[in-house]
Subunit: 330 residues, 2 copies
């Protein structure tokens, strides 16, 4: 990616929130960043309209703040939950948004009058962390995105690996228990069924079912349905024994997923992005220990396992990088 007097827009489409921002081609700063609810329930047209409005607002803000002209905007990168058909610019299926074979790329491109590159949201987050975040300098990088689901991205020599049909990187949907918990994808025993945000909350509720005292109940005013992964981490950080045990188990499951990736892919960086990554040492220390127990020593020694550094911006930054990978700007 070259230093540029041009700007690229990044769009991160989440099930809950949209993030839109702009960056110069050298990635030196984030400009005109907007966070808004996705409006998933209002249907596809409303979501696309909102994305395009946000892009226009970001462009206007950047023009005002930097004096750039409209011709200095090279295009738009969009990170979207997959699976996607990148060649055709389609979103094949996103249960959360209700889209099927949805021509997102051309719809947005037509409305904003700029070229658009579509990529998977977890791919974008991984690419963002590699470009400007915690995986900077890595050659072979694997990203785990931990949130409502568990996504992943693989980077080889600075390029995302998309695979034969744009599905590569679905680490959350690898089996770690042959006869394990049912996953939203229909499979049994997926990593996501144990270590996604909702799975962590579910395991916490299960752990409370024997009636032992726990701060978790107080933190949700007794309504256990309100337990989230963030609340579990908070209670664990404050010394709650049940929450600490849930975090330890989470570290163990994630450690299995990371160890599997180390033995298959032998990366030099594994970056864990998303909300869970903020859990800090209480998660990362036992997670790294589990990886050491399970993966080959040369693979463990060659790899740093780090939390993401870009927080909620990773997907937007990576969407800019995904655009630049297809359309280098001068």
């Amino acid at each position: 990616m070259t230093v540029s007097s041009q700007y690229v827009i990044g769009v991160d489409i989440g099930g809950t929130n949209l993030v839109v921002g702009a960056m110069p081609g050298d990635g030196s700063r984030e400009l005109g960043v907007i966070h808004l609810p996705t409006l998933a329930k209002q249907g596809a047209d409303a979501v696309v309209a909102r994305i395009c409005e946000m892009i226009d607002t970001t462009i206007a803000t950047v023009m005002r703040e930097t004096g750039a002209t409209r011709s200095q905007f090279a295009g738009v990168g969009i990170g979207c939950p997959g699976p996607l058909d990148r060649e055709k610019g389609l979103v094949i299926l996103t249960p959360n948004l209700g889209w099927t074979d949805f021509p997102l790329r051309d719809l947005v491109s037509g409305k904003v009058g700029l070229p658009v590159v579509l990529d998977n949201d977890a791919n974008c987050a991984t690419l963002g962390e590699w470009w400007l975040g915690a995986a900077k300098g890595g050659r072979d990088v694997v990203g785990f995105t931990l949130g409502t689901g568990i996504g992943g991205g693989l980077i080889l020599g600075g390029r995302l690996l998309h695979g034969a049909s744009d599905v590569a990187g679905e680490i959350g949907h690898t089996t770690i228990e042959a006869n394990g918990r049912r996953c939203g994808c229909g499979n049994y025993g997926c990593l996501e069924a144990y270590a996604s945000g909702p799975a962590i909350a579910m395991r916490a509720r299960e752990a409370l079912s024997n009636g032992e005292p726990s701060m978790l109940r107080d933190l949700v005013d007794g309504d256990l349905e309100k337990i989230t992964a963030a609340i579990v981490y908070k209670a664990s950080g404050q010394g709650d024994a049940i929450a600490a045990e849930v975090v330890k188990e989470t570290a163990r499951f994630l450690g299995i997923g990371v160890a599997n990736i180390l033995n298959i892919f032998n990366p030099d960086v594994v970056v864990l992005a998303g909300g869970v990554a903020q859990a800090g040492d209480s998660l990362f220390v036992p997670l790294r220990a589990e990886v050491r127990r399970r993966a080959f020593k040369p693979a463990v020694d060659a790899c740093r396992i780090v939390p993401g550094a870009l927080g909620g911006s990773a997907g937007m930054v990576g969407a800019v990088a995904a655009f630049l990978a297809e359309h280098p700007v001068a």
Copy 2:
């Protein structure tokens, strides 16, 4: 790889057998192929001496049969159980051969007076199947080698993926049961602990422990320690119910391993090489069904899952290809 008037020697080092042969640079035929026991118990010097003698014999045979001169031999590729340090030409550890930080490349190169390239045995088998076997034409290829252990190799755009420390592709040592069987590597629940040859034999012995009648007992004259994976496949093929159940379970475990690879790597070919691959439809039909149940549809649709076509030659052929990848011959 270019058509050539030069020849490359391939060496496949197994725990039981050594295979050495030569091929012209275009891979058009196998010449002077020799199979001999490895002599692992006689120590490293004996194994290296035998490899070098076999190379000399192969060279002499090719010279006699083709009229080639010694100068037409470009070098030697060696496939060896890992982990390896390819840059230094070391075998870091092979429990079966008792080698630790063993400078195999330079020892062989010094004795035979030719450049030597070292690579992992499963990488070589995968590369062989991609170059001339069942994975020909594939772009992103994953090979599973099924035998005493389970190895693997990943090919991206015609190049082996070695990873940050030459460990990439250790698919046999990925966890498919978080609290599963102890594996030889020290980990619990590895694919290898369920679907390697010895693991299949062990599961068959366990299945016989309730005393139900089975042809398996007759095939080993009542000595259950003599059961091998090949015998299980044979009994299953002849209609033995217990053996058939063991094969079905094997297909399920391998199907989990293959499905995980499809969701992570999204290859266009998965090739299963080694003895187990000869089991045919009784293994491959339920294996493919398990993959369909577990992996994402676009990944399943994009991938053919096939048995290896080169049999016991895959490693030797792939060792030739590994040499050619580093030293293209004209």
